[in-house]
Amino acid sequence: MDAILFTIALLTLFTAGFGAVLLIVPRDRSLTVIEMSSLAIVLGAAFVSLASFWLGLFLSGLILRSTLTALCIVMGATGIARKRSAPSILSGGPSGAGAFLLMGILAVQTGLILWLALLLTFGWDGLLIWEFKARLACLHGGVIPIDYFRDLSRYWTKPRYPLFLPLSEAWIYNWLGRCDEGLAKLIFPLLYLAALGFLYIGGSRFGGTWWRGFLPAVLLFFVPLAVVGEGSVSSGYADFPLAVLYLASVIYLLEYWETGDKGALRILGITAAALPWIKQEGIILWLTLGFLTTVKTAQRRSIRLVLPMALPGILVFSGWRVYLALVKVKVGRGFLPFDLTTLWSNLGRSTAIAQAAVIEMMDWKHWSILWPAALLSLILLLVSNHRKDFVVLLLAVTLPITMYSGIFIFSAWAPFMDHLNSSMPRLFLQVSLVALLIVGLAIPNGRHCPEETPST
């Protein structure tokens, strides 16, 4: 029975996600099954969690679950109805022996990720910050009670953190009729699949061959911190989901940057909007994307196009902040005031922070050789006359890393290096999938890897 209920929970989530994709994507744009499924996973979770939250202000229990299920089905049906007039929406994927071999490797890797999800416990934050909120929602008919946000005995569970992950887990709990730490972890292999999908799409679309799509996807398994440890896909933290959504957003930003396609901008707006709903740092990633979009739209003298990109994110972020203000949630003391006085007095930390960032990037136990490889790949992209991609990819990685590193200037921890050492690997993980995409794009196309135009 658990398997059936778990499947229903996931199917409704996918249905909503598919519907969202079909509604967002322009009618004249073709999508492969891989792109469609990857988007459906992340947008389905975003939709279910956001709708749970807003509907939960008025409904709870069976009524909430029934209403949300109906909404998911309506979303899917509306999307399918729209698809009828757009026959190319599900175009083919990669083919050929080489592609199937790499797909086989990816299948084995994904199986191992599933096994790890079942084998390992949550990490600290996975249980104490994220799953705990899902548990609360589960115990209160799908709604996190307002009392929680004011509970000073549990301020260490970070009540200000947004609810993408907890309410996605709670959706499964609500269907099961109980909290289940074991089954909640099964969401993460799906996000891993979405990450593989996006790496394939990004690599093949901008690299011109399926080869450049598959290799970064295969390499993901060999980035240790993406697989095991705090922040990884097996830990139950929000950092990996954030990395997946950021990768998706960068891909559509890159597409807009290259082609000026308004459809890409629309998808970017939606995927980016989910970032501040996953974790607080998501707003930094969203600002990065917003900045790069603004630069390009200004260059094209169509600055008003920033609005459809920015509006969903503004609504999601401000909606959550307004709610936190209304429930008078306790403000944590992790950081000093973000003002010039603090900046000036703590500027001396900069050298230590920069050193720590470089040391972290060179830590092969976390990253293998990802960061040196990404740096080398960026240089190769620059000399290969792909400067458009180079600029976007360079800034999409360096801007968040610079802001993430700079934020420790304002850390209230004593010593602040404890804060940095515990957070920096996870923060870098959030942009690591984009770094992996950069590596994929720089991989040469050998004689045994014929150029094919992928149908992404």
């Binding site: 790890l116 079942l118 084998l119 390992l120 416990t121 949550f122 600290w124 996975g126 249980l127 104490l128 799953e131 705990f132 548990r135 609360l136 115990l139 009670p145 009392d147 509970d151 000073l152 005995s153 549990r154 260490w156 109980r178 909290c179 289940d180 730490e181 074991g182 089954l183 972890k185 690299g207 011109g208 450049r212 390499l219 398994f221 060999f222 980035v223 240790p224 911190l225 697989v227 095991v228 440890g229 136990k365 976390h366 990253w367 293998s368 050789i369 990802l370 490889a373 190769l380 992209l381 290969s384 792909h386 991609d389 794009l441 720089a442 991989i443 040469p444 196309n445 050998g446 004689r447």
Partner: protein, 181 residues
């Protein structure tokens, strides 16, 4: 994005072909290094990870293994049902004990909706080393003693296991008095 030169039948482009092969070779080595180091790092990290025992308390049961009781999460939840849901609980134990804070966090997660505060006692005669306590006076319903015995002045509690005892509290006193000296 890095396009290699297409092979041509004449021999004049051998140098370019050789460069292309060298380039591919370098990338192959890179991929092998990436995968090799990544696998080694991943396996090393895996050995440090706690293993889940599965089920609905897959993680919390694993983290509460220090309590040395079967199905610790369920046992704790069952024991706490004797306290009113609106009542607060104090978790007391040796603050220097490495498992203290994780055990407190895990039990706090399981004890919702009861508020749970923590008092990590110091060595005899020393002040507490770790505490999460309310800023204002608060009535508590029970004290959960972890790896420590309740002070003599408290009524005898109920042992949930060899390492944890739940004591109903008739009245609230200053926090440090709950440390057994």
């Amino acid at each position: 994005m890095i396009d290699t030169i297409p092979a041509r039948p004449d021999g004049r482009n051998r140098l370019r072909e050789a460069r292309s092969s060298l380039y591919l070779g370098a990338w192959s080595l890179f991929l092998i290094a990436f995968a090799g180091l990544g696998l080694k790092g991943g396996l090393e990290a895996l050995q440090k990870q706690p293993i889940s025992i599965g089920g609905r308390y897959a993680t919390s049961d694993s983290w509460l293994a220090a309590l040395q009781i079967p199905r610790p999460s369920k046992s704790i939840q069952d024991a706490l049902t004797q306290l009113p849901p609106e009542g607060a609980i104090l978790f007391v134990g040796p603050g220097h004990e490495p498992t203290f804070i994780l055990t407190y966090y895990t039990i706090s997660v399981l004890s919702w909706p009861r508020k749970m505060w923590a008092l990590g006692c110091g060595e005899a005669g020393q002040p507490p080393t770790l505490f999460i306590l309310p800023q204002e006076p608060l009535k508590i319903e029970g004290v959960l003693y972890y790896l420590s015995k309740p002070p003599m002045w408290l009524p005898g509690g109920r042992a949930i296991g060899p390492r944890v005892t739940l004591v109903r509290v008739p009245e609230t006193v200053t926090w440090t008095q709950y440390c057994s000296q």
